[in-house]
């Protein structure tokens, strides 16, 4: 075993890249669940975002356009979910699962002509001065723009939920939709907005996979990332900071275990392989042992307006 072969700087840098797709999707889903809606279609929205983002980026030559298109595609699929569950009042679990199946099928249909093509590179954003700081520079300040955008979004979501009126309304709708309705808030509209936001985030997370992390389109390429995002939201007890921690832990341990294997670490591979799941769940569960952070009160319940 020669752990000296692992370059900690490169490791920490690739951690941020590995975590970003899950971080984006999980942040979006957290907002959706905070509004009281459980959308199990994250995987389907991610993969649709991955293929649409890839297709648009290849055709336009602009990865930025790809991300925008991916967000719109994810939101489009989410709108479908929103209409079915909020307006037609169907069961959210079943509809969400259906959305995942639909997204997987739709994406392989759209993706057929794009197999084996390379994505245009997003490029790295070498932040002047900061990028030259030894150690910290390569870890933190030499990434593609989406890494920073995702962090800004997490910050925005945290502040928005905690300090703004809109955030308060969203939480009220999620905690007790009958009471929120009685106060005159438009429960369905608030939820639809949250669902659209969640879809756009999942779409961008998917596009990050196909445009930056892999970067190519392969059918079924999310391979369960959407489900990981859903799990992280629960284990992070619906808090933005913990979602960030969970996503980075999961991404970090995933990359670390591969590096440990390559360096020939004397830890059985089976343990290394399960370590991302174990470590993430353990850490988040231990944190949430302190204090009470339950699920939003109306999570997954259908809202029927009473006069």
């Amino acid at each position: 075993m020669d752990l000296g072969q692992i370059d900690p700087i490169l490791l920490l840098a690739s951690l941020m890249v590995a975590a970003t797709p899950i971080l984006l999707a999980a942040t979006g889903e957290m907002v959706v669940e905070k509004s009281g809606v459980l959308n199990l279609g994250v995987e389907g929205m991610m993969i649709t975002g991955a293929v649409v983002g890839f297709a648009v980026a290849v055709n336009s030559g602009s990865p930025a356009a790809g991300f925008v298109a991916a967000a719109l595609a994810g939101a489009g699929l989410a709108l479908l979910f929103g209409l079915i569950t909020q307006v037609l009042k169907s069961n959210q679990v079943a509809t969400g699962l259906g959305l995942t199946l639909f997204g997987l099928g739709l994406s392989s249909l759209i993706g057929k002509p794009y197999e084996g093509i390379k994505a245009p590179s997003l490029g790295k954003l070498d932040i002047p001065l900061l990028a030259d700081i030894p150690v910290l520079g390569p870890i933190l300040f030499r990434h593609d723009p989406m890494v920073y955008i995702s962090l800004l979004i997490v910050l925005g979501v945290w502040a928005g939920l905690k300090y703004t009126r809109a955030g308060l309304v969203l939480r009220a709708v999620g905690e007790n939709h009958t009471a929120a309705h009685a106060l005159g808030y438009k429960v369905i509209r608030v939820r639809l907005a949250a669902i659209l936001f969640g879809g756009a985030m999942a779409g961008m997370g998917g596009a990050y996979l196909s445009l930056v992390r892999v970067p190519t389109w392969v059918e079924g390429m999310t391979a369960g990332a959407g489900w990981i995002a859903l799990a992280i939201v629960v284990f992070a007890s619906w808090r933005a900071g913990r979602v960030l921690l969970g996503a980075y832990l999961f991404g970090g341990v995933s990359v670390l275990q591969l590096n440990l294997q390559a360096a020939g670490a004397a830890i059985p591979v089976e343990y290394l392989s399960m370590s991302p799941y174990l470590v993430t769940i353990l850490v988040l569960v231990v944190i949430s042992l302190r204090g009470k952070h339950g699920a939003p009160g109306s999570l997954g319940r259908v809202f029927h307006a009473t006069t």
Binding site: Q5, I6, D7, L10, L11, S14, A18, P21, S108, G111, K112, E115, G116, I117, K118, A119, S121, L209, R213, V214, P215, T216, V218, E219, G220, M221, T222, A223, G224, A225, S254, V255, L258, N259, Q261, A262, A263, G264, P268, V269, E270, S273
Partner: protein
């Protein structure tokens, strides 16, 4: 509601009748895939062979398939479903479907089953596989010549004999042409997960590997290598020629079509019998994709000569003297490995570092 029920029952009956009507004149062939048909590798090639079967037999054969079937309990359900739907012959195309296929084959004695890369047979269950390790020998030779850092990265999937054979074969032949070569192996514990495969390729490249071999099914490692630049890769299971001439410098191609056509024909003729088929480069089940211009001409010539020697049976990739990893003798000078040992291979050859997970 009653009207709806009546309609539904009627439709189901009609579908059932239609099913039995067609079952008499067409042969129904089912395929169970571990990944999506668009993975660009393993499943893509099996599906290509399925399409070849359809083309060859025309209306006489109907094929059905189910993709992305997880290995484990779900597989048994998927295979059972396919057998219930009237399939006459079912190909299950991943090692991890072995026990599920055995279990379903017991329940449906009139249906024929074919399991890829496994070793359990029955009266109505045949196994088939390709000698991928022959292709790995050619790959190892090229890899040993190409590497400058003398570090070859290997993305392995599951610790099963087929994968271990591939690692050993590639290592033996890389070592032969480059005594300083070192293999770094990552067990991904998946056949198909592009993000993980890309991460594994990146981890290997960051640790100095400049040749990446993969035993996973997607093109993600190729994309990661292309991004890194100056890293060589090989197409796995399929040609992956969209990444040629760099990073993909050659490939191992699985050509299942002739075998599938032969076996479907046997079912139609009523001559199908259980069998244990294991073909290599010679009969054409394993192909070597075009060696690109990124490889020096003399290396290319050497690789092709090795390929021909293997195809003609003149050379066996596991020819002694060879020791096991612990230094104990395995094959004496000139001795070749028997198929039994190869099929159950659970050890590295001398020189490879690390342990095989259990």
């Amino acid at each position: 509601m009653n009207l709806f029920k009546t309609l539904a029952v009627g439709a189901a009956l009609a579908a059932g009748l239609a099913g039995t009507a067609t079952a008499q004149d067409t042969t129904k062939v089912g395929f169970i895939y571990v990944g999506p048909i668009g993975d660009g590798g393993w499943t893509y090639e099996h599906n290509k062979a399925r399409l070849a079967v359809e083309e060859h037999f025309g209306d006489a054969v109907e094929t059905v398939y189910q993709e992305s079937v997880p290995e484990g309990a779900d597989a048994e359900r998927a295979i059972t479903q396919m057998a219930l739907s009237g399939a006459d012959l079912i190909f299950t195309t991943s090692f991890g479907f072995m026990d599920a296929t055995v279990a379903v084959a017991e329940k449906f004695p009139d249906v024929k089953f074919e399991h890829a890369t496994g070793y359990k047979t029955a009266d109505n269950l045949a196994v088939y596989s390709a000698r991928f390790y022959e292709g790995r020998a050619v790959q190892g030779t090229i890899a040993g010549h190409l590497t400058d850092s003398n570090i070859v990265g290997y993305i392995a999937s599951y610790p099963i004999p087929e994968v271990i054979r591939g690692i050993n074969s590639a290592y033996i032949h890389a070592k032969k042409v480059n005594p300083d070569v070192e293999f770094k192996i990552i067990w991904a514990y998946t056949w198909f997960d592009p993000a993980k495969e890309a991460d594994a390729a990146k981890a290997l490249i960051e640790q100095g590997a400049d040749v990446i071999l993969q035993h996973t099914d997607s093109t993600a490692p190729q994309a990661a290598a292309a991004e890194a630049g100056n890293v060589y890769t090989f197409g796995q299971a399929s040609d992956m020629s969209e990444y040629a001439p760099m990073p993909r410098v050659s490939s191992i191609i699985d050509d299942w079509a002739p075998y599938y056509i032969e076996r479907v024909q046997a079912v139609i003729d009523g001559t199908w019998e259980t069998a244990d088929t294991w073909d290599g480069i010679g009969p054409g089940m394993v192909g070597i994709g075009e060696i690109s211009d990124a490889v020096p001409a003399e290396v290319k010539a050497e690789a092709l000569a090795l390929k021909d020697a293997i195809a003609s049976g003149e050379y066996h990739p596991f020819t002694g003297p060879l020791n096991k990893q612990d230094g104990s003798a395995w094959l004496a000078e000139g001795e070749t490995a028997d198929d039994g040992t190869l099929l159950g291979m659970d050890f590295y050859v001398e020189g490879i570092e690390g342990e095989i997970p259990n």
